[in-house]
Amino acid sequence: MRELSLHLLDMLQNSREAGATDVIAEVIEDTRRDEMVLRVTDNGRGVPVEQLPHLFDPFYTTRNTRHVGLGLPLLKAAAERAGGTATVASAPGRTTVEARFVHSHLDRAPLGDVADTLLAMMLDDTAPRLRYRHVANGNRFEVDSAEIRRLLDGMPIRQTEAYAWLRSYLEEGIRTVRQGLAP
C-alpha cells in the first residue's frame, strides 16, 4: 500500500470483520528512539490458535469459509522493508495487531491521510466504536467516535456539515500533534 494509513484501514476492517464492537487504533511516533508504531486492539472473536502461526503467510488457505487475505502479509512486508516487525496477539475478546517501523528509514512508506481512514471507518453507522490515539514525541491527540456521535445526537456523520467539520477536526488535530516531530 502506498501509505501506512491504508494499512491502518485494513487492520480496522479486520477488527470489524472479527465482530468487534470496540476498537482502539494507535499511531505512536518517537523520533528520539527512531520508532513508529501502528497498533490496533479490538474486542472481536480473535484468531483461532491453530491459525496464528500462518497469519502472515500469503499462501495459507483453509477449507472453511474463514477469510484469509493478503492484508497481514502486506503489513509485515511493509514493516520489514522499514527495518521493523509485525506481530499479532490474540485471544477471544482481545486481539492486538502491531506493526513497528524505523521512523527515519528511507523505505518506510509515508503515514498518509489518517483522517480519511478514520472517516471511512466512522461513516458506516454499524461500525464499532473507534478510539484513535496519536502520540508524537509525547504530544497527544485523541478522538472517540462515541463522543462524536453523542455530540451529533442523531445527525449522521456523512451529513454535509458534520462530515466537513469532522474531517477538518481530524486533519488539524493530527497535523498539530505531528508538528513536534520536526528535527
Binding site: M1, L6, L9, D10, Q13, R16, E17, H67, G69, L70, G71, L74, D116, T117, L119, A120, L123, D124, D125, T126, A127, E147, I148, L151, L152, D153, M155, R158, Q159, T160, E161, A162, Y163, A164, W165, L166, S168, Y169, E172
Partner: protein, 126 residues
C-alpha cells in the same frame, strides 16, 4: 466553511442544522463500497470519500456502508447501488474520478451506467 476547533462547536453546529430546513432529495438508496484489502489497495477509500462528497454536493440522502472482499478483486473498487424495488447493481473499477458520473446518471437520472456494471442482482433473486 469557517475553521472550527472544539467539540463544543460541533454541538452548536448540530443544533443549528436541526433548526435549518434542509430539503434533501431522498432516493431510498443504499450504497456499499468494498473495503477489503483488495479494495483498499485499488483506491476504495478515495472512492468512498468521493461518494460522500458528491452526495453532499447534490443534496442526496443515501446510506453508505462498507463490505469486505467478495472475491472479485480484479474489479475493485466495487460499488453497489441498491434502490427500493430495483435490481442491485454492482459497478467495478470505480476510481474516485468515476464517482460523479455514477451519482448523476444512476441516482439523479435513473439510468444505470451499463459500461461499468460488473454484476446485477434481480430483486427477489438469490
Amino acid at each position: 466553511m469557517p475553521k472550527i476547533g472544539s467539540l463544543e462547536e460541533l454541538k452548536a453546529l448540530r443544533e443549528k442544522a436541526a433548526k435549518d430546513l434542509q430539503v434533501r432529495l431522498s432516493t431510498g438508496t443504499r450504497i456499499t463500497v468494498g473495503l477489503g484489502t483488495c479494495g483498499i489497495a485499488a483506491g476504495a477509500r478515495e472512492t468512498m470519500r468521493a461518494i460522500v462528497q458528491e452526495l453532499n454536493k447534490r443534496g442526496i440522502d443515501a446510506t453508505v456502508n462498507t463490505v469486505g472482499c467478495i472475491g472479485m478483486c480484479y474489479n475493485e473498487p466495487l460499488v453497489d447501488i441498491e434502490q427500493a424495488g430495483k435490481p442491485r447493481v454492482t459497478y467495478g473499477k470505480v476510481t474516485a474520478d468515476r464517482v460523479p458520473r455514477i451519482i448523476e446518471e444512476h441516482l439523479i437520472n435513473g439510468r444505470v451506467v451499463e459500461e461499468w456494471v460488473v454484476g446485477r442482482l434481480e430483486v427477489g433473486g438469490n
